[in-house]
């Protein structure tokens, strides 16, 4: 168990921003909210999955919405507390611990904010080992954990609780439309799980991993060594590309930031081009010519992470723009997302790329995302 410090938050924001594969919400906003709470005297403990009692009650907390809106429409501040309280009132029980739904810039930190405000511990784990755009894309729900009850709130004070849903695809459909009506920003707390389920179906130690990635980047900056090497040393995986963004097409559609980008290779990648398609998160990366996608070099569920070449700072979807110098890393995902059942939900076909074959990146036992 560790108690979150301001310095930890600095690192988690960077690490979660990188592991968020372009989505998960803006890390900077998440960071300053958490650091302000810590300076005000709030505290939050991060506990290991193994420290959780079998019958402890756990809920995920996180924001939903288009990241392109999230950078402009700021939260009121107490949404995750209200969402959790609504969930607790609905079931008539207290939640014992909070878990991240995903590792992503803001959504790794929002649960910490909730934990601090409500004096509840946050688990060192999440339900993806990365970020994903849709609710059914969760190791919990893929493993059969019920996605309800689910509480959804907005900054205006509106509140909706789903008591029962046919499945997590249905929950995604209902919640996404309502999120758009709420102004493309809402906060959810769901479901009510027991410790045993959470231990069995979550991705372990991802908050620690995010912190380690952030620590590595910050250290490398300080001593002026390779930030890419520093990250890959923690996460395993490879550098896929380095270059300059020369084209970005992005639209906020149905509550998502959808689009594609092209990067022109620099240094050893000169003459090559990289194409990435995204839906909040980066989905598929191809190498090719300026206008053609010749070869898939990485795809979901593996992670395609973009850093600013100079600073190692993670680049999120809403920040993409012409001229940015970027380095793209491929990081192997958790084994929990590589099963046949999981691939139906989070493989390339589920995102509209049935022609893309998922070739899992090699993993090293005991390192990276478990």
């Amino acid at each position: 168990m560790w108690t979150l410090s301001i310095d930890d938050t600095e690192s988690i924001a960077i690490g979660a921003g990188i592991l968020g594969t372009g989505g998960g919400g803006n890390p900077y906003l998440g960071k300053i909210r958490m650091q302000r709470l810590l300076r005000e005297g709030y505290s939050v403990n991060i506990i290991d999955l193994d420290d959780l009692a079998d019958d402890a009650l756990v809920a995920e907390v996180g924001g939903m919405g288009a990241p392109t809106v999230g950078v402009e429409k700021l939260p009121k501040g107490d949404e995750s507390k209200l969402a959790l309280e609504a969930l607790e009132a609905y079931v008539g029980k207290q939640i014992d611990a909070i878990i991240c739904a995903e590792i992503g810039g803001a959504n790794s930190i929002e649960p910490l904010v909730a934990g601090a405000m409500m004096n509840k511990p946050v688990l060192d784990a999440d339900a993806m080992g990365r970020a994903f755009p849709e609710m059914q894309m969760s190791t919990h729900f893929i493993a059969g954990v019920k996605c309800v009850p689910a509480a959804m709130v907005d900054e205006k004070g509106n509140q909706i609780i789903f008591g029962n849903m046919v499945d997590s695809y249905a929950l995604e459909k209902f919640a996404r439309d309502l999120c758009v009506l709420m102004g493309c920003r809402s906060t959810l707390a769901l479901p009510v799980m027991v410790g045993e389920q959470v231990r069995r179906t979550s991705v372990r130690r991802t908050l620690s991993l995010a912190k380690q990635v952030g620590d590595a980047v910050r250290h490398a900056r300080q001593v002026k060594s390779s930030m890419v090497d520093a990250v890959l040393n923690v996460t395993t995986g490879t550098e896929l590309f380095s270059g300059k963004l020369i084209d970005v097409q992005r639209r906020t559609v149905a509550g998502f930031a959808r689009g594609q980008l092209v990067a022109e290779g620099l240094n050893q990648y000169r003459g090559d081009y990289l194409h990435i398609a995204f839906q909040n998160e980066n989905l598929v990366a191809w190498r090719g010519d300026r206008d053609t996608r010749d070869q898939v070099i990485a795809c979901v569920p593996d992670l395609i992470c973009m850093l600013e070449t100079e600073t190692g700072e993670p680049i999120t979807t809403e920040q993409l723009r012409y001229g940015l110098r970027v380095t793209v890393l491929g990081i192997p995902c958790t084994d929990k997302l590589r099963t046949p059942e999981a691939l139906k939900v989070v493989g390339p076909a589920a995102f509209g790329y049935p022609e893309v074959t998922f070739n899992p990146m090699p993993k090293i036992a005991g390192r990276g995302i478990e």
Binding site: N158, I160, I161
Partner: protein, 362 residues
């Protein structure tokens, strides 16, 4: 006032009268009637009380179906949705609810609560929240008098359910409508729970018994072969605004509503003239030769010229010979505040509301 019972014959009459009050919308009464009839046959008749018999502290909740009438005629309910919705409100409020009421006695929502009341052996109150049908959730007199729709519970036939709590009733319409569309354009709801004291101030009194009286009048007039239309006009206090044949209907199901226009070619005294009736589930505006002659909140209903059978939006088709009947709205709907909610401007017509009785003679 004495207590009454809603049995099979009453349901028959209520469904018919409610279709008149439904102003073209409110859902096909036939399906609601079948369900309610089956429920009272199985569970016994439903007790109907008047508001003065309800204790100030006793609670009532409105039960309804929400969605597009064009879908309701095809997608049948499962049967248990209203019970779930009712139980969810009771649970959320943390106190028992003694009465069930209709939020909208125009259309299917006159009989949907009867089905639930029978299933749960609860009495109904002779009232509603509109005195007619309206397309949106905040268009109820309870809302005008400050009663919140929260907690608003929804359930569908697949097992999906939700409870909504919003900062005002207009937000409730926005979210609930979207959920209803995603439930397949029909959903069962329980909402606007209120105390006897609140209802005594806010409700439209006597709408269920009025619907029953209208239906009985039509039925008895037909059986006696007397002028159904004249009897209908008298029992409703309404005005015959046009006599014509339907020559064109445009209708689209959009965002959970059936929107469109019906064009009538004049017959008899109205020969040579044309009437256009615009609807959004319910009939909103009636224009004669391009000039608006009746508008919301007054009621506009088309009835078949011989039988007096009211015609719903989804039943409209070429060749029907109809009389357009307009009934003055309940006084609650005529205040400046009410007209902001249900007047012509809310629906996009930049005209001032003129009560039908100022334009037409009985």
């Amino acid at each position: 006032m004495t207590k009454r019972q809603i049995g099979v014959q009453e349901i028959e009459d209520i469904a018919l009268g409610a279709a008149v009050l439904g102003t073209g919308g409110g859902g096909d009464p036939y399906i609601g009637k079948l369900m309610a009839t089956e429920a009272v046959r199985r569970h016994g008749p439903v007790e109907l009380v008047t508001l003065d018999e309800v204790g100030d502290d006793e609670m009532s909740v409105a039960i309804a179906m929400m969605g597009a009438p064009t879908v309701m005629v095809e997608k049948m309910p499962g049967g248990n949705e209203c019970v779930e919705a009712f139980n969810a409100v009771q649970s959320f409020l943390g106190r028992p609810i003694q009465y069930v009421y209709s939020i909208e006695a125009g259309g299917i929502n006159s009989t949907i609560p009867i089905t639930l009341a029978a299933q749960l052996h609860k009495p109904m109150i002779d009232m509603d929240g509109m005195g007619r049908a309206f397309p949106e959730i905040q268009m109820v007199t309870q809302s005008l008098f400050g009663i919140t729709a929260t907690p608003f519970t929804m359930a569908d036939e697949k097992g999906n359910s939700a409870v909504l709590s919003t900062i005002d009733n207009r937000w409730m319409e926005t979210f609930a409508r979207n959920i209803a569309v995603n439930m397949g354009a029909t959903a069962h709801i329980a909402a606007y729970a209120a105390s006897g004291k609140q209802q005594k101030e806010a409700a439209v009194y006597g709408t269920l018994s009025l619907a029953e009286k209208i239906g009985r009048t039509i039925r008895e007039s037909r059986a006696a072969h007397v002028d159904v239309i004249a009897a209908l006009r008298e029992v409703t206090g309404g005005f015959i605004v046009f006599h014509g044949k339907l020559v064109d209907v445009r209708r689209q199901t959009v965002a959970g509503f059936a929107r469109g226009e019906a064009i009538l070619e004049g017959i008899g005294e109205d020969a040579g003239s044309q009437m256009s009736i615009q609807f959004q589930n319910e009939n909103l505006m009636a224009s004669r030769n391009g000039e608006i002659v009746v508008s919301v909140p007054d009621l506009i209903t088309m009835v078949e010229e011989d039988t007096g059978e009211p015609i719903t939006t989804e039943q409209l088709r070429y060749g029907f010979r109809v009389l357009v009947l307009s009934i003055p709205s309940h006084p609650h709907w005529r205040s400046a505040k009410a007209l902001e909610v249900v007047g012509p401007r809310y629906f996009g017509y930049d005209i001032d509301y003129v009560p039908v009785e100022q334009r037409f003679k009985a």
